[in-house]
């Protein structure tokens, strides 16, 4: 981030996504969903959303539900 770039002109979500670009797609997607949800939902609801997404994702990758 350059000194004159400021912090508000840039899209905050883009800046944050840039920081987690090294993570796999599913990690990035769920993280982004969580940040968007956190703008309108409380922590507990966001945690439940993350859990639902994780369960969905592991089912899709072929795991059996325990």
């Amino acid at each position: 981030m350059s000194k004159n770039a400021g912090v508000r002109g840039s899209n905050v979500t883009d800046l944050i996504m840039e920081k987690i670009s090294k993570y796999p797609d599913n990690v990035r997607d769920i993280s982004l969903e969580a940040i968007k949800a956190a703008e309108r939902l409380p922590e507990r609801a966001v945690a439940e959303l993350i859990m639902a997404q994780v369960i969905q994702c592991t089912k899709a990758s072929g795991g059996d539900d325990a």
Binding site: V7, G9, V27, K36, A38, I50, V54, A66
Partner: protein, 682 residues
């Protein structure tokens, strides 16, 4: 954004209708206005009126401890005379932004109800005149979002510098960190990210609990690793929090020391001893820093020093490896795996059969005994290269290490001598005939002992934190290996791992993002700091750093912390620089395209600092509105402001005799003549 005109009607102390034109439309380059008046006349009320017009807000951040029913916007005299009827209070602001002219009107009605005054929003209107000259009447429901597009309500407070905010930032400690952290969080909009981080921790913990309950599977190791990492992070956080508390305690003790030293200086008979002690203590601090640096340099030589200690063995091993290399044993001419293949397949590379019991077979077997495996050869070669490099620097390394050890011991010796000197001076001060001075000296000694013990605890905790960091790296590595394991036995393992990765990703995003912004704001604050400091300050104070715990630190030319020695005026400049940097960041890093209100900014500042602020701020912002008292804005300041060519307006807030305030406008020239000279009061 530039505020052109504000019209108040029955607002706070301003009874009836009052108009202030901050910038003349004929000359917009004169972007600085001075509102001048004694405390309590309503200077901050003008900023409050602005915030009320823009956002309908009745409170400012400085009202945090004031109950709601004590904040009244409707003029009290007007209420008294209304005989129980509602009184309308309004603020109308005309401002321009990006070529458009906004006319905003907001009114409340207030009525006395018993002892209380009830105030309710009565009206809000916004018209925007576009560049093409057409005027748009904004629907009432869209007004807030139109205003938020001009100035986001979350950063609005950065454009008011009041004495309290400046003072809050000058005091190192929890209060300062809270103010900075709050400012940065608003600026960064990291609240959502923060909630997401905490939610991911909660989700990861829930999956880990599920996994831990599933016993007797391969998931046990994974669960153990994730749990250990969580415990490690919790312990690191606990240590970090304790370190912050200790830093606060240490800073408080240093402030107490400063205070005692100031009081001791009042005793003229020991003044020379105090100066001598202050110098010696400052030398000790500088030398301690030098000793740390030498120690850090020595740490880079630890590996080489270890090799030097076993120099004979190194030479012996090198000679042996070198000999084997000369003989062609490492690397062997034919690799062991090739010979093994010939023996097992009974076939030579030329295609001939090699049968057991033949002389060829026996020769090849003897050859096998001479060769070593490839991995061993690689290790031996690596070791040969390392030793060849190391032994070539033996003499130089020995010299450097010797020099560093001598240097370190000399510094320690000088520190010891200075400490003895400090002790001896302190003893003399303690033996002073003045009872009050030796009592103070006794308290000072206690603070010094407390500082020593705090420093020891900090050192101990820092080393524990380092150890935890290294355990964390090891555990992360083990977890990575565990992740790479194929054929996971249970879906619970998959979930736990994915949740852990999401937690890591969000935490990393938060940490990297906030650290980059801290850096940007620190650099920007440093730029402003350099422009505002006087020559003496510029010579010693170089950099403002926003630390990880959101405290501010000033570094000297050697990059070392300087805060303990920063004067009250310099601290005030540091605070102003930091708030200006926040305001600049809120405007995307460049010039502040918002009006900057500064309420009593010159309090403790020296003449040169005042002049620097007056010279620089009009260049950094699109509009500057100075709210000043008669004690801080005199002819000197007025003359400096006139020299900038940016001063266009001067208003005086005067008491009207019935507890209300009237606003009188003077030309800049007239203002100069009515302002007091130095040491004069109005």
């Amino acid at each position: 954004m530039i505020i052109h005109k504000m019209t108040l009607n029955n607002f706070r102390q301003f009874r009836g209708k009052h108009e202030i034109e901050f910038v003349s439309l004929d000359d917009p380059t004169k972007n600085t206005a001075v509102v001048y008046g004694e405390n309590g006349r309503g200077k901050t009320g003008l900023f409050r009126a602005m915030m009320f017009a823009l956002y309908g807000e009745r409170r400012l951040s400085q009202d945090a401890n004031v109950p709601d029913n004590e904040i009244q916007l409707v003029n009290t005299s007007a209420l008294q005379e209304s005989e129980g009827k509602p009184v309308r209070t309004s603020v109308e602001v005309t401002f321009s932004h990006k070529g458009k002219v906004y006319n905003l009107y907001r009114a409340i009605e207030g009525m006395r109800h018993g002892d209380e005054v009830i105030e309710e929003i009565a009206d809000v209107r916004l018209n925007i005149t576009h560049v093409d000259g057409n005027t748009e009447i904004i629907d009432r429901r869209s007004i807030d979002s139109k205003i938020a597009d001009v100035l986001d309500p979350r950063v609005k407070e950065y454009f008011l510098f009041d004495g309290e905010k400046i003072e809050q930032l000058t005091r190192a400690g929890k209060e300062q960190r809270r103010a900075i952290s709050e400012g940065m969080r608003n600026l960064l909009r990291v609240d959502a990210l923060d909630v997401a981080v905490k939610a991911s921790e909660r989700a990861a913990k829930s999956f880990l609990d599920d996994l831990t309950q599933e016993t007797g599977t391969a998931g046990v190791e994974l669960a153990r690793l994730i749990k250990s990492l969580g415990d490690n992070e919790a312990e690191s956080n606990r240590i970090r929090t304790r370190l912050e508390e200790l830093a606060d305690e240490r800073d408080r003790a240093y402030r107490e020391l400063e205070d005692i030293d100031k009081r001791l200086m009042e005793f003229k008979e020991i003044e020379h001893l105090l100066s001598e002690r202050r110098q010696a203590e400052s030398d000790v601090r500088r030398l301690e820093h030098d000793a740390d640096q030498v120690m850090n340099q020595m740490q880079t030589y630890v590996c080489k020093a270890a090799a030097l200690m076993v120099r004979d063995t190194v030479e012996e091993v090198f000679a042996s490896l070198d000999e084997q290399k000369e003989k062609g044993e490492i690397p062997s001419e034919i690799r062991r795996d090739l010979i093994e293949r010939i023996i097992s397949e009974h076939k030579c590379i030329c295609g001939n059969e090699v049968c057991e019991g033949t002389s060829e077979y026996e020769s090849i077997c003897r050859w096998l005994e001479k060769t070593s495996d490839a991995a061993r050869e690689d290790v031996a070669l690596d070791l040969w290269r390392f030793l060849a490099e190391t032994r070539s620097h033996f003499e130089d390394d020995a010299d450097i290490i010797k020099q560093r050890i001598i240097e370190h011991s000399n510094i320690i010796h000088r520190i010891d001598r200075l400490r003895d000197k400090v002790l001896s001076i302190s003893k003399q001060i303690g033996e002073s005939e003045r009872e009050d001075s030796w009592k103070l000296e006794k308290i000072r000694k206690k603070h010094l002992e407390a500082i020593t013990s705090i420093k020891a605890e900090i050192q101990n905790l820092e080393s524990q934190a380092k150890e935890l960091d290294s355990i964390h790296s090891r555990l992360t590595q083990q977890l990575d290996e565990e992740k790479r394991r194929k054929n996971r036995n249970s879906v619970l393992e998959e979930r736990s791992l994915l949740a852990r990765e999401i937690q890591e990703a969000l935490a990393e995003a938060y940490n990297t993002y906030t650290s980059e912004v801290r850096d940007v704001i620190g650099k920007s604050a440093t730029d402003v700091f350099g422009r505002l400091l006087d020559e003496e300050g510029k010579a010693t104070l170089k950099t403002i750093v926003v630390k990880e715990n959101y405290s501010l630190e000033v570094l000297d030319q050697y990059g070392q912390p300087f805060l303990a020695n920063v004067s009250a005026g310099q601290r005030q400049i540091m605070s102003i620089s930091f708030i200006t940097a926040l305001a600049m960041a809120a405007c995307d890093g460049g010039r502040i395209e918002m009006p900057l209100f500064m309420d009593s900014p010159f309090g403790r500042l020296s003449g040169q600092h005042r002049k620097n602020i007056i010279r620089e701020i009009p260049l950094l912002t699109s509009q500057w509105i100075i709210l000043a008292t008669d004690t801080e804005f005199r002819r000197d300041e007025a003359q400096a402001l006139r020299m900038t060519g940016h001063w266009g307006k001067f208003f005086m807030l005067c008491a009207s005799g019935d507890g209300n305030t009237t606003i009188k406008e003077y030309s800049v020239d007239d203002a100069y003549s009515i302002l007091p000279r130095e040491e004069e009061q109005v």
